[in-house]
């Protein structure tokens, strides 16, 4: 609106020169943005319209790949798995993160700095290392579970069996990301004006009342962000299953998660086109779900 006002005064030619100057400033960013962001997406879209076969070469197939994904039981099985993961693991993880953030923020915790860093530390451990470590602990022969079984004469169920593997992956992811989400929530709590607490205390509000009436409303924005990050993270689940695959190949099938499915398709099956399609469809689903959650979160905030 402001620029329109200026162009009225100075005339078209000046405005054009001015807009060029603007573009020059953004050019470095735009170049990098186009190269590392737009180009790969465009290339994936391009790939998804073709089909390359070992016999017969490459041919244009239009929307065939998309129709195939929508009818692909393996894709929907993978999607169902991450959807279940999302519905169960994310609330547990965010609830734990919330609990820890509130505990640290309460100021009643002894050694809260140490507590904070140790909860956050797993996030600093690379996912590969974390998964390998948990993989060893889950082992029923030589791992922690095996030792517990031996020491107490138990026979705990194998956490790496096909029935329990999703829960075991959920446990690893929770361990990794509670600290990260705690940090988001905790920093949101730190910006609450302390005078609010003083006022609440003067009014005779207890700690739980303060949490309910002040802290939780203040956390709404941060919780929304954390939820959206977690949705994206769940839908993109890849590292943990792909590492566990080497330990328990029967439990992690090649279409365990949509991302792992896309990976198997392209790197084992050389179906780069179909793989790109799976990735795009999953990306769109993720965007839609994240957007819906955001809409709902904002509506509440109003």
């Amino acid at each position: 609106m402001v620029s329109e006002g200026y162009s009225d005064v100075r005339g078209g030619r000046a405005a054009r020169r001015r807009s060029w100057a603007g573009w020059q400033f953004v050019a470095p960013f735009m170049a990098v943005f186009a190269l590392v962001f737009l180009a790969p997406i465009a290339y994936s879209l391009h790939l998804s319209l073709f089909r390359t076969r070992l016999i017969g070469g490459t041919s244009f197939v239009g929307a065939d790949n998309y129709l195939k994904v929508l009818q692909d039981p393996q894709f929907w099985s993978a999607f169902g798995r991450v959807a279940l993961f999302l519905v169960v693991q994310v609330p547990i993880m965010l609830f734990l993160a919330l609990l820890v953030a509130l505990a640290i923020d309460s100021g009643r915790l002894y050694g809260s700095a140490f507590f904070r860093i140790s909860v956050f530390l797993p996030y600093a451990v690379p996912a590969v290392v974390a998964t390998l470590m948990w993989g060893f602990m889950y082992g029923t022969r030589f791992g922690l579970i095996g030792n517990v079984n031996e020491a107490f004469g138990l026979s705990l169920p194998d956490p790496l069996s096909p029935d329990l593997i999703l829960a075991s992956v959920g446990n690893i992811v929770t361990w990794e990301f509670v600290g990260y989400n705690m940090l988001i929530l905790y920093s949101a709590l730190r910006v609450v004006n302390p005078s609010l607490y003083e006022a609440a205390a003067l009014d005779g509000a207890g700690q739980f009342r303060i949490i309910w009436a002040i802290k939780l409303p203040a956390l709404r924005g941060a919780l929304l962000i954390a939820t959206i990050f977690s949705i994206i993270g769940s839908f993109q689940l890849f590292n943990e299953p792909s590492i566990l695959k080497t330990i328990v190949p029967n439990s992690i099938i090649t279409y365990f998660t949509p991302n792992y499915y896309a990976y198997s398709l392209s790197f084992q099956g050389q179906q780069f086109n179909y793989s790109a399609t799976v990735a795009i469809v999953m990306g769109i689903i993720t965007m839609v779900v994240a957007y819906l959650v955001q809409l709902r979160g904002m509506r509440k905030a109003v």
Binding site: I55, R141, F142, G269
Partner: protein, 454 residues
């Protein structure tokens, strides 16, 4: 068919030629392939002189391989040809490396000059033209250098796409200490093997005669030994049939072992596996002849305890074995320095490199080394002084002929655990698992443009 028309329109001339040659060549044996290679060699511009020149000029090549004895070969090679620098890179074992290689080929950069490719994976790389036909570099003249099994494995559709580096005729590796302790006889037949599996596990519930958590390579090798030919490949026509008699022989035996929980549910090459091999809880392995070096380096605790016996037979007194694994060295089509790469290939698989690798514990694919009395009489301290190579070389001569892998075996093997894996973790039978594997593999073949024989 629609496929044929599309192929005619879209296929590159080179691919068409190689496929046509393949259709002719596959009805004959390696002989047909060899002559095609000879023809290519005759017209090739690369001669021994060219190779010598490349070695004198020098340069640098990158080799992707995980085979441990190649390290010595690279050192010797560089000492002999000081102007050549060889970067030996371990880009992962098996499938991990193929992923990286396919990645590099697809990206068109970072492609190595030489790559280790297992026999089962070679047809897939050859068909996709990811690796070069070595006939043009003179590989056709090597007829008779290698044992027939590996040599026919590197022939795909009339071309030679790799030089055999090692071979894996199967044998029974067993922990003699455990066998003696529980008074077990070394099984000569599969029935005896099953009986030994049962009495060992009964005597010590923690011990198993072997491990198997579902392994595509092992399963196909077992079917191979049983005389099964589930895969039929004729040019671009493929068929899969896991209901044939050879496969059924295997499933009947193995289902019994799975149902009795007589197989350690441990994934091969995992840490648990190495531990089990060392502490006697996995008392045996039916595996390829390349295993001694792996035992020596990976299972130090087993020193002096392990022994090698011939592979158990389906019929008493029989003499049938199969290949299990084994790999070739191939030259990626996109590799920057093919002549120098071929010079290294020849050094490592035909010339001095072979002996260095044999000395390092590898199992060769060259007839000269296999027949060498020095090779056969070598005593292995790790195996309590046993002349291991005698057993293994005999196995090499008993490999059942006529086996072929799918031209998309890498993918097929990658979905083995999705399908057959269920037989190891649930009530699904091995037979049903194999049927599911067959269907999924054929579906992929069809999608990839192969003609599927029903």
């Amino acid at each position: 068919m629609a496929i044929t028309r599309r192929r005619a329109l879209l296929l590159g001339a080179a691919l068409t030629v190689s496929l046509t040659a393949g259709a002719c060549g596959s009805s004959g044996s390696s002989g047909g392939g060899g002559s095609a290679g000879d023809a290519a060699a005759a017209s090739a511009a690369v001669s021994d002189a060219d190779i010598r020149k490349a070695l004198d000029t020098g340069g640098s090549i990158t080799v992707w391989a995980w085979e441990p004895t190649l390290k010595q070969v690279v050192e010797d090679f560089q000492a002999k040809y000081p102007k050549v620098k060889v970067n030996l890179v371990n880009a992962g074992t098996g499938n991990d490396q193929y992923t990286a290689l396919q990645n590099a080929v697809k990206a068109g950069s970072g492609v190595p000059d030489v790559a280790q490719v297992e026999y089962y994976a070679l047809p897939q790389f050859a068909l996709a033209k990811s690796v070069a036909d070595l006939g043009a570099l003179g590989a056709g003249t090597l007829d008779g250098t290698f044992t027939p099994g590996p040599w026919s494995s590197v022939h795909v559709g009339g071309g030679i796409y790799g030089l055999p580096m090692d071979s894996g005729p199967m044998a029974l590796f067993y922990n003699k200490e455990v066998f003696d302790k529980y008074d077990l006889k070394v099984p000569a037949t599969w029935d005896e093997f099953a009986a030994a599996a049962e009495s060992l596990h009964k005597a010590n519930p923690k011990a198993y005669i072997t491990n198997d958590a579902g392994d595509a390579g092992f399963t196909t090798s077992m079917i191979w030994q049983a005389g099964g030919k589930p895969y039929t490949v004729d040019g671009t026509t493929v068929g899969i049939d896991f209901t044939e008699p050879g496969t059924q022989k295997f499933t009947a035996l193995w289902q019994k072992l799975i149902d009795g929980k007589l197989l350690a549910p441990v994934t091969s090459w995992s840490d648990e596996w190495y531990k089990g091999l060392g502490d006697g809880t996995i008392a045996g392995l039916v595996i390829g002849a390349w295993m001694p070096a792996n035992l020596e380096s990976g299972v130090k605790a087993g020193e002096g305890k392990w022994q090698v016996a011939p592979m158990p037979q389906w019929e008493a007194g029989g003499g049938a074995t199969a290949e299990n694994g084994g790999s070739s060295l191939a030259i990626p089509e996109a590799g920057p320095n093919k002549t120098l790469a071929y010079a290294f290939l020849k050094y490592a698989t035909v010339d001095e490199g072979v002996q260095a690798r044999v000395d390092g514990g590898a199992f060769p694919a060259t007839t000269a080394q296999l027949r060498d009395p020095k090779f056969q009489d070598k005593e292995f301290p790790y195996f309590g002084g046993q002349k291991v190579n005698k057993v293994l070389a005999e196995s090499a001569s008993q490999v059942v002929s006529g086996w072929s892998y799918l031209p998309f075996q890498v993918y097929a093997n990658s979905i083995f655990n999705d399908t057959v894996g269920k037989a190891y973790t649930s009530s699904t039978t091995l037979r049903d698992g194999l049927k599911a594997w067959q269907d999924a593999s054929l579906k992929y073949g069809e999608e990839q443009g192969f003609t599927v024989r029903q």
